[in-house]
Structures are given as structure tokens and as C-alpha cells.
Symmetry: C2
Subunit: 198 residues, 2 copies
DNA sequence: GGGCTACTATGACCGCTGTCATAGTCGGGT
DNA sequence: ACCCGACTATGACAGCGGTCATAGTAGCCC
């Protein structure tokens, strides 16, 4: 959330991600992004000669890297790392936001997928890369915890799928119920995967 | 998929759902819906005086009811119904579509949530209702299979969350991998819930 | 037939969007 | 002083969006 005082370019990418996750790609205007970033409108065509497509792709990319880095921070925060604990932490990031800031925003990668998967190939690819850059660290964390390598990837996919779906339901219902539910139900399954291996 | 030769009104709702799940709500135009439904443009304001908002809401509603009914049909197709089998069937509907028709479409309810949750309260509510009308039958089916009532709802939420998330990932990756993965990983957990109870 | 309702058919309007074109400013190098 | 690159600033444009207004047609009841 801290946007620091980075260059205007980075601020615009960040703002784009924020607006996209709130309103979707199509409903987010370029002028709006510039205004939100406090950047001059003219900078858009300067920094993003590829137009909206480029800006959206970079926003998706940014979101993917952010999610990946976030995983490492979660791991550092857990004194006894378990798969279920990691998942609970991932979910808690969202319940915290929804409880303090309201249900305004979803996942920008999900928004890009829904809005652009069919129409804009490059954005679809960016979304796939973002998911990959998120699943990777999660899977790596699972193997570090003792989950067999061949299952770590699958469980990481399951975790992120369940999380994304629960985000959708939570936003629709304006209730974190779905999020807490998937965390509670999936936790034991995830922890069992390390016990089996040990 | 069989649209039969229902009235133009129903055809437009159906077409709206189809276009929304492909391109998102914002990118779907009213004129486009009419054209896709083979309906006259003038009928839009006749049948949907509430404008696009009403049309979208009805499309979401339709999708929710369709998903709910679909559950019953899945149950009828399974000779020995198990939670994991039901989930596998739900997932298979999507893998089948993606393998035969390509990754063009997602879930219209997810699209409506992403595009309208913040901007259009009534559509957000329609999406919540659609999720409820989908989760309900699934939970009921689980209790019929012997899952304790207090867990059936939670597992239904987990199933739909995982499915929705996997749909997103599958579309982004143009690969059914995520779908088959969640089906494989979640199946045993779901089946265990009935065994525990018995 | 007259009239009424349901539905269809267009055309126009206004707002907004992404993009282009053009020109301006600013700072540094030489 | 000069130039040049990076960046900013506007204005215009063409297209498309949803919506309104208005008029036309079809069928049915009395």
C-alpha cells in the first residue's frame, strides 16, 4: 500500500492495478489512471507507447510479482511454518482488507483474466505469468515444509484457486464468510500433506 | 446450450450471459446482445426498461439458476453419488467445454462480480444470489450423501470457490491443468467428509 | 372498422474513451 | 548560445456506448 515517492511511471502502474481491481479493466480509463497517480496525462503516451494494453499488462505483471513477494513475507512471519498456516495467512490478508477497507477491490489478475482473456492475447499471457509467479513461490514454500515435490505444485494451484474463488464470493456477498470457510476447510488437508511425507 | 425457440426476451437474457462470460460486462454492448440473440434492437428498451443494469442482472440470475439445476442433473447421472464424484462432474463440465470449444468463456457470475461489484449494487446482489442458488443445491446434495449438515455448506463453498478460481487460471493459461488439479486434490477430502460421518 | 396493446424500427443525442498531433518546458551537455 | 533528449501540456478526433424520442407495424378484442 505504501506507494512511496517512486517515479511517475511506477505510480501509474500501481494506480492502474488498484483501479483495475476495483472496477475491472474496461471500466478503468487512462485519464483516470493518470489522475489517480497524480501524474500528467501526457506522460501516458510517453511511458506507455503501447497504449492501454501495455499499461494493463504491466499492472498485471506488477500484481503477480507483488503476490509472489508477499508469500516470502508470510513465511518470515510464521515462526512454525505449515502449509495450513501459510494459507491462513494468505486468506487473512484479504479478510483484513475487507474488514477494514470494505469490499471494493478484488484481485487485479482475476479482473484482467475476466475482461481480457478472450479479447487481448498479451494480457491473457500476462495473467498466466502472474499466476505462475504466484504459484511458484507457494509451491516452493510447500516443499520447504516437507510436502513432496510432485504434490506441492498441485496444492499451490488448489490454494490459489480456492483463494481466488473465495475472493469472488466474498465480494459478491460483502461477507468474508467464504474466505474464512476455505481457510478452515482446506487447512487440515494441506497440513496432512506434510505429515504423510514425514 | 440448446436455446430452443423461446421468446426473444429469454433469448436476449441468454445471449447476454454468453457474451458477458466471454468479454465481461463492460465490454458487452446492448446492440451486440440484440444482434447475438437475433432480436430487434428496439426490443431492448421494451423488455428491459431498466436498461443494461436490468439485463445484466437477469443474465446473472439466469446463470445462477442454470448452475443450480445443473447440480441436480449431475446427481442423476451418478449411479453412486459421492461428494468427490459430484465435484469431478462439475469440473468436467468445464474441461469438456474448454477442450472442445476453446477457452473463450468463463463464468458469467464471476464476470459480473469483477466488473460490477463496486459500481452497481443491484448486480452485486444478483451475483450473491446466484452464488447462493448454486451453493444451496450443492450443500443439499452433500447432506443427502451423508455429509453432516454443519459441514455441507462449508464444503459447498469450498467446492465452488475452488472451481471458480480454477476456471480463472485455466482461462489465463489456456490449459485445463488447474481444473483437473483441483478435482484430483479436493476429491479425497470431500469423500472423507462422508466417511467420517458414517 | 376502430382502437388498443404489444412489439418493432430507426435515428439522434450526449458523454466518454483511447489515441494522435502538436507544441511547450526544463535540464544538461558542449 | 545552442541543441537535444526527456518529459509535460492540451486540444482534437473518431468511434462507440447506453439511452431517449418518435414512429411504425401486427394482432386481437369489441
Amino acid at each position: 500500500m505504501a506507494q512511496s515517492v517512486r517515479g511517475p511511471r511506477e505510480r501509474m502502474v500501481f494506480s492502474a492495478a488498484q483501479l483495475i481491481r476495483r472496477d475491472g479493466v474496461a471500466a478503468t480509463g487512462m485519464r483516470e489512471v493518470a489522475a489517480h497517480a497524480g501524474a500528467p496525462r501526457g506522460s501516458l503516451q510517453h511511458y506507455f507507447p503501447g497504449g492501454k494494453e501495455q499499461l494493463v499488462n504491466e499492472a498485471v505483471d506488477w500484481a503477480g510479482r507483488y503476490a509472489g513477494k508477499r508469500v516470502d513475507r508470510f513465511l518470515a512471519a510464521l515462526d512454525e511454518p505449515t502449509p495450513g498456516g501459510l494459507f491462513a495467512e494468505m486468506v487473512r490478508q484479504w479478510t483484513d482488507e475487507y474488514e477494514t477497507a470494505g469490499f471494493a477491490g478484488g484481485c487485479p489478475v482475476a479482473a484482467a483474466t475476466v475482461d481480457c482473456a478472450e479479447s487481448t492475447a498479451s494480457t491473457r499471457a500476462a495473467a498466466a505469468a502472474a499466476f505462475a509467479g504466484w504459484t511458484g513461490p507457494v509451491a516452493a514454500a510447500l516443499t520447504d515444509m516437507g510436502v513432496p515435490e510432485e504434490r506441492a505444485g498441485a496444492l499451490a494451484t488448489l490454494m490459489i484457486s480456492a483463494l481466488e474463488g473465495a475472493i469472488l464470493m466474498a465480494r459478491a456477498e460483502c461477507d468474508v464468510r467464504a474466505l474464512t470457510t476455505v481457510a478452515r476447510e482446506l487447512g487440515p488437508l494441506l497440513d496432512a500433506a506434510v505429515r504423510e511425507a514425514g
